[in-house]
Subunit: 394 residues, 2 copies
């Protein structure tokens, strides 16, 4: 196991009616907040009204900025930064899913950053401060409600880039699984694929002696998968949502990655799909992950045997480990299909036109740099291109 430095200060308030206390929960942190959200869903389901009322009852002023879209845009982030500066906002309350929260984090950085906030993402500039962010989660998926990361899409440059800093971990996140009841089936599936990928990125490692976090990864994956099928079938299953929702948070607060060299190749490859084709992040991950597994598994076949046996429940002769691994990958693909997720780039509407460009962008090659993807197996642009091709058709 590797050394680590672990700190998740985010307070999680979880359960029925938890959102009703948002005003009193925020009172110690803020006098004036930016209420940041996506569209009409929170106005239709009453969440918007409840939040506004609770803020008012607790003497918290607010400005608001809606309009966040999946793969949240830099242009709206700029608008948020201006608004926060003009209105002396001291906390951003993101009410929504990962896109809203990531957008809020970008605004939080930008308000305290002297230059162009995009430089922070593109050049990995260090930041020294950020406005505090709080969240009310309405879509369990990205884990952004307690993670230190934010991903923003620069629509002009067709670039989707992530940034991480403990300064953007939310101070407080409220999760009432009842707000997941009205999610459409494809959004449920995309979210589940995203949270599973957050675990895969940490789980698949060459680091040895990681038994405890291996087990935490495996049990969280299994619980998410079991309950994902239940909520997909009946989105009003509160108890199943509890497991999926909490699982999505644990999947990305980095507990499961402690002391492990992590991978993150699939996320790197997927961001290129989303940047050009604006596909849902989870759908892209569902397509790429099995292809990535097939391409890399021989690098560390024991790790993949463990996955197939402990997570996917494969039984068989250990003297034929390839069969065990391939059956494990097959079962994962079958699970994605059951969830209604796509299995090929073709289904996502992505043909061969930009595969090489995306492969070169994902590894820096397109910018005259070389930063291969992947902690388990280093992937250069030629490798990524091969994986894209494997994922193209069934």
């Amino acid at each position: 196991m590797l050394n680590f430095d672990f700190h998740i200060p985010t307070r999680i308030c979880f359960g029925k009616d938890s959102h009703k206390e948002i005003g009193s929960l925020l009172a110690p942190y803020a006098k004036k907040v930016l209420l940041h959200y996506s569209g009409d869903r929170i106005k239709k389901n009453g969440l918007y009204d409840t939040v506004v009322q609770s803020l008012k009852e607790n003497g918290i002023e607010f400005a608001e900025l809606g309009g966040v879209v999946p793969n949240p845009r830099l242009s709206l982030v700029y608008e948020g930064i201006r608004l926060c500066k003009d209105q002396d906002i001291d906390l951003i309350l993101a009410v929504g899913g990962g896109s809203v929260i990531d957008s809020a984090k970008a605004i939080a950085i930008g308000v305290c950053y002297e230059g162009d906030v995009w430089d922070v993402y593109e050049q990995g500039k260090a930041i020294t401060a950020a406005l505090p962010v709080a969240t009310i989660l309405t879509i369990p998926a990205a884990g952004s409600e307690s993670s230190n990361s934010t991903v923003i899409t620069n629509e002009e440059k067709q670039m989707k880039l992530g940034y991480g800093s403990d300064l953007v971990r939310p101070v407080l996140s409220v999760m009432n699984p009842e707000f997941f009841f009205t999610l459409p089936k494809n959004q449920i599936a995309n979210g589940v694929a995203d949270m599973m990928s957050h675990i895969f990125e940490r789980y698949f490692t060459n680091t040895l002696n990681t038994d405890l976090t291996d087990g935490l990864c495996e049990t969280t994956l299994k619980s998410i998968m079991r309950h994902a099928l239940l909520v997909s079938e009946n989105p009003r299953n509160y108890d199943a949502w509890c497991q999926v929702g909490l699982g999505g948070t644990i999947a990305h607060n980095d507990l499961l990655g402690l002391g492990r060299r992590q991978d993150w190749a699939c996320h790197g490859m997927e961001h290129e799909l989303s940047a050009i084709y604006d596909v849902a992040h989870g759908a892209g991950l569902a397509v790429l992950t099995p292809a990535w597994m097939k391409y890399v598994y021989k690098t560390n076949i024991n790790m993949f045997v463990q996955f197939a046996v402990n997570v996917m429940g494969v039984e068989g002769s250990f003297r034929d480990p390839d069969s065990i691994v391939l059956e494990g990958i097959n079962r994962l693909s079958q699970f994605f299909v059951k969830m209604g997720l796509p299995t090929t780039l073709e289904e996502l509407g992505i043909d061969s036109t930009n595969l090489e460009l995306m492969a070169k962008k994902s590894t820096g090659e397109a910018y005259g740099e070389e930063h291969p993807l992947g902690g388990l197996k280093k992937l250069y642009w030629q490798d990524v291109l091969e994986i894209y091709k494997m994922a193209s058709k069934s």
Copy 2:
């Protein structure tokens, strides 16, 4: 699953050499610290010198107070409070195991509390402030390095009482498993029994729909047990200590108890043993836990079948659940024996003299109150007496 409010702000710095940075780690928090410890062990192994040097290099002044004993005493807590007030201490650095950390937390409370700090423990008085506490953990066991709890023994009153408040969660805990290499075998065993009990107290519940945290409990228990046997055999096994050490922290930071009604009967019953007989907490728990399981399992036999199968690996006919459960308990006892732990009160030097008194103290009966122990099955003093008797002899 129940609603919950979860907040573990403790930063964990883990691994080889992590203790060497203690001065720079503490610099943002403190100008003058109280260095609180037990005895000579940290002076012999060089930890004391390294800490002192690092504090000096970072311009942090310090006072010191050694002499903490297992089942830490109120008298030393009073001394620490006086010292902190006299010397304008602004953080307490506990270097040691759970006893030192619990003593530091009591001092931290007492410095900011107007009245007698014992009232906080005995009368459960609310506190509004506490000095920050940081730790360098030298014995993985109590989980106090990231928990919100502290247990103190009032030697005059022969009372051992716990108190919990998020105000006493350490701000920072450093864990270098190399410092566990010189632990004597019985201390290793006691520590392992304590951390396992912290999981049992959360795991055994009547709350339904807790699949995710069930799994987290089970995998953490199994990892601790596997690696406990390795470190018991070879206390210099760094990699095994990593699993046990991190396991002990997770066991008690309350992640594993999220959304579950918890039990805590075994801790309640054990505190009475320690208060009168000054036995090691872990040894007392190892004796009482199997007896408790046998006494209560029929209340929720499915929960205990799950334990036997998922944690203890029992196979057999589910049409005879009693046999499965009893075999699970039997295997747990065998594990404790392998670790060199006692299995009866007799082995702890405890005869029948005070059993009824302890049963009545543990449930409040001795003080004219009635607060039965246990979340899974309510235990009145007669029940506790029965469990003590079952645990008396093999």
